[in-house]
Assembly symmetry: C2
Homo-oligomer: 279 residues x 2
Amino acid sequence: MSATHDGEPIPVFFLSDSTGISAETMGNALLLHFPDHRFERTLIPFITTPDDAREVVRRIDATMESGVTPLVFATAALDDVRHELVKTRAPLIDFFDMHMQQVEAILGTRGARTPARLHGVGDVKRYNARMQAVEYAIEHDDGQSVRSLDKADVILVAPSRCGKTPTTMYLALQHGLRVANYPLIDDDFTSADLPRPIGHLADRCFGLITSAARLCAVRSERRPDSTYASLRQCTYELKRAEALYRAHDLPIIDSSAKSVEEMSTLILQVLARRSHPAH
Amino acid sequence: MSATHDGEPIPVFFLSDSTGISAETMGNALLLHFPDHRFERTLIPFITTPDDAREVVRRIDATMESGVTPLVFATAALDDVRHELVKTRAPLIDFFDMHMQQVEAILGTRGARTPARLHGVGDVKRYNARMQAVEYAIEHDDGQSVRSLDKADVILVAPSRCGKTPTTMYLALQHGLRVANYPLIDDDFTSADLPRPIGHLADRCFGLITSAARLCAVRSERRPDSTYASLRQCTYELKRAEALYRAHDLPIIDSSAKSVEEMSTLILQVLARRSHPAH
């Protein structure tokens, strides 16, 4: 029994009694460390009955008949589902059971072990806040509306095409923050003040920068050979924007080599430090 | 040493050499099973040096002086960081090390164990596709633009306020799918055909429904006491919408008790089945 055939991708299964997002997240975090292997990923979510589980086991075991050992990542909270899943001939990497036992030991109490629905509606109030945050973000995308900017938890400020919008959406959707974004234009650089609509809101503004080369590349995709996309213009806007951020003490996030998740994490860290100044 | 003091929340730490999103996802999936406990969560991301790690251990150990055992979830891929983190007096729930060993055993090769950056930019092509998908989603939100609808991977169709927009954003941001959404209005119910702009695109349309009571509640928040929000109007629109979906064989997703993550997972399942009809 060998784990890999030359050139053949290794089957990977993510199993869950819920969406499988946790199993995928953790499983992919591990697979990232094997860049030389090819994987063929299959998500099997919503395995909620022993019958479902037996069917899944049949499917996984069938892949073993070709002599390939698949990787099977599972996060099933339901005992009767998990009892069936462990019957697979493939080795099962269970993110739930052992860690659940660790948490139970530390807390000195047994966990509910009902279907978890971490990614379900769950806390309705929190869920609705997330949905409203998405609406708020869309209304306030790219400075479209300056109405109720003072209700923003976070305002992302930057020249056009520095990555404001996806970061805005991520913070809204995943963290329920009301995020507005405000595009800086040439007119905003004639004064040392922040633009009027956000002038009194510096306490919640974050300044985004990127590299001139990257900004030039991104803008050129939209408007090739324009002044707007020229390296000279990009360099100018970034330099002036950064000076403005520094003058007003805005936290500066460099988006040039960072993902929306990384930028969002940095922003959340600043917010956390502000609400718990001790750390 | 007891895990919980009456009424005092239990400190929970999520530690990572990257964003900590994996540690939070898995940790929260476990904590969900202890609804009677209160937790005070602290994310400590970007622990990239042994010095950082020692500082984190000091901070965690300090919380133990009050006699409370914190829960510490970690996903550090860097060996020298992890070697410091395990020195904490608190029990460490390590999502990485043991499972990494399991994967290494199955694949018969050692993982890279460099900083993982699952939530980093990573595969630039895939990352850029996600960012472009967010732009596409915003341009095509709520039927704003019917231009390039034929480039959509998915079109969500529904009466107003059935949850199209957040699901659209989630699929775009997390999965890089180009998702448009199309609001059904009364005029669309006068014909048995799909609305003209999506008439030839039924193969990628998904119909959303919800319960009339829920739709009425959501609409009433926006426009109280309007015909638009009335139970009668909501019932009518949902009934006609569902009939339209059925007539054109659209997959139907009921959003009434489902999160955006759950709806997205169902949609992804349909897409996966279509591209691999065997399963």
